[in-house]
């Protein structure tokens, strides 16, 4: 799959942009603050309807304008046209000219995996970051997962609202607990099934790009140990004190460890960085395996931070993207772009919200 065309209007520092992209490697070169990452952000937005910088849509509107437009043509099995417009007053999302009614039908039109400095939070950050990672991967591979997750979160919020009341009606609480447990068990099952498939891919990726011989382990750490309803009943008193739903998939985590010691607590900075990249590589490999074609890889700055050995470890993944007529977008500043990537790349110069094809 590849993004054949990108159109931006009033998105970040781009007043307007029209660009055609062939499959293969694209190197976005430019000084700082010129708009390299903004391009990756727009592509990721079309894939997930979110910014990988974790900001809301309002921030992506070009200063002083009312709304942004992001559109693109995706070539995979067929050709799909995505158009999204967002302003405070109006939101519009169409696929091939028709309004998108079910998000599940839309997500998957464009699949991306982003590598960015924020990835380090996968190792250092809270469980929320790791749950997001799992949720995105499951959304990208399991058609019913997103609606399920949304229903579950609705059940959590409803239940929390009940628990905030002075004396919640026990029968009512019971009714929402039943929803919570039913939906939560489904989520747990999906996550439990995913980890054993993801784990070997991450280990392999880690081994390929790391300089150490430590054994990486990824374990699913569900908040619910065996029986959701039973455990929920056990925390009832604490729930009443804290006035919130204390257990369930919304409190799940992933345990990342080296030789059985927590990566966040005992890993070196370099190990953590490498681990974060390995997780993203595993995501890309997993998607490739499931869908038979590589996702579009968006690599923001990270290549420049890696030493030659670790860069070399990334190459097979990038090569595979090329073999399956996939696409890679990589941002770099002029001084640190990985020259060993060879001649077969399209260089672009990014300058003050404009993109120009450059000769390689």
């Amino acid at each position: 799959m590849h993004l054949a065309h990108l159109r931006l209007r009033d998105f970040r520092n781009y007043a307007r942009l029209n660009a055609d992209f062939a499959p293969g490697f694209h190197l976005l070169l430019g000084d700082n603050a010129q708009g390299k990452t903004n391009i990756l952000e727009a592509i990721y937005l079309m894939a997930t309807l979110r910014s990988f910088r974790g900001v809301g849509s309002a921030q992506m509107i070009r200063h002083g304008q009312k709304g942004y437009f992001v559109g693109g043509k995706v070539v995979g099995q067929g050709e799909r046209e995505i158009k999204m417009f967002w302003s405070a007053r109006e939101r519009n999302l169409t696929l091939d000219g028709r309004a998108v009614k079910k998000l599940g039908d839309f997500l998957g039109t464009l699949r991306t995996v982003v590598f960015c400095t924020e990835d380090l939070q996968l190792v250092k950050g809270t469980g929320r970051t790791r749950r997001r990672f799992l949720d995105l991967l499951l959304t990208q591979t399991q058609p019913g997962y997103l609606p399920l997750l949304q229903r579950y979160m609705q059940a959590v919020r409803s239940r929390n609202a009940l628990l905030k009341q002075f004396a919640p009606d026990p029968r009512l609480l019971e009714s929402f607990s039943e929803q919570l447990v039913k939906l939560g068990n489904e989520l747990i099952r999906h996550r439990r099934e995913l980890i054993p498939k993801l784990s070997p891919l991450a280990r392999l990726a880690y081994r390929r790009i790391s300089n150490d011989a430590e054994e990486l382990r990824i374990n699913y750490e569900p908040s619910v140990k065996t029986d959701f309803s039973v455990e929920l009943a056990q925390v009832r008193d604490r729930e009443r004190r804290f006035r919130a739903t204390l257990i369930g998939p919304h409190r799940d985590d992933l345990q990342l460890s080296f030789n059985d010691k927590s990566a966040a607590q005992f890993g070196s900075e370099g190990q953590k960085r490498t681990l974060a990249i390995a997780l993203k590589m595993a995501q890309a490999e997993y998607l490739t395996g499931i869908h038979g074609s590589a996702p579009v890889l968006l690599i923001d700055d990270v290549m420049g931070e890696l030493d030659a050995k670790r860069r070399a470890g990334l190459l097979p993944l990038l090569e595979r993207a090329r073999e399956t007529s996939g696409q890679v977008f990589m941002t770099c500043t002029e001084e640190n772009w990985p020259r060993e990537l060879g001649r077969e790349l399209q260089r672009w110069e990014v300058k003050a919200g404009a993109l120009h094809g450059a000769k390689s």
Partner: protein, 197 residues
């Protein structure tokens, strides 16, 4: 700039369900350029309908006289009652033409997030009907989102009594107005058969 009277008409129209700012503007501009007689007729029809229509004190349906014609219809099966969320749901079930029992409009669903509690719904009215009418079976036909499901569960628990059968059909789709990207818009769950609760 549009004259104030048009702007306020647009604002009033935009409050109607399913009418976005753009269609409100189109309708308003159409109305102010339509013959005065026609517009007066429309305005009268709106006021007249509003004055005539009331809720059936028994089932909660929209009606001109209470009890409504469905509640009064002796050919309908009075032992069977279908619980719906809103009065308009009766119309769609009636259109399908397969249901021969009576109705009870709940007036919404329990929503802790929107502050809708059981007391805000017509549940007490239903309990009264259960003692006064020969009801043997209740079919709950609420939307299939989390709140609809929890409300159904709650009702099944609360209404349980000897000799009363309670079942559930999945009905309707959670409304997906306003396109917020992060939300699933429709969760179409096929109409499963009745499930006894």
């Amino acid at each position: 700039m549009l004259p104030d009277s048009i702007t306020s008409l647009i604002a009033a129209l935009a409050k109607l369900p399913g009418v976005g700012p753009r269609s409100a503007e189109r309708i308003a501009l159409h109305l102010v350029q339509t013959e005065a007689e026609t517009v007066k007729h429309l305005a009268n029809a709106i006021v007249h309908a509003r004055e005539k229509i009331q809720f059936c004190t028994t089932c909660g349906a929209l009606t001109e006289k209470s009890p409504c014609s469905i509640c009064e219809d002796s050919r309908r099966d009075g032992s069977l009652v279908c619980i719906v969320e809103r009065a308009v749901d009766i119309l769609s079930i009636e259109k399908s033409g397969t249901f021969r029992g009576k109705f009870h409009v709940l007036g919404g669903k329990i929503s802790p997030l929107d502050g809708v509690e059981p007391e805000d719904l017509r549940i007490a009215e239903l309990e009264k009907r259960l003692t006064g009418e020969p009801i043997k079976e209740i079919i709950i036909a609420l939307s299939t989102d989390v709140e609809g499901d929890a409300t159904s569960h709650y009702l099944a628990k609360r209404l349980t009594r000897a000799g009363l059968k309670i079942s559930r059909i999945a009905y309707g789709l959670p409304a997906g107005s306003g396109l917020e990207f992060a939300d699933e818009l429709t969760l179409s769950r096929a109409l499963e058969g009745r499930r006894e609760m």
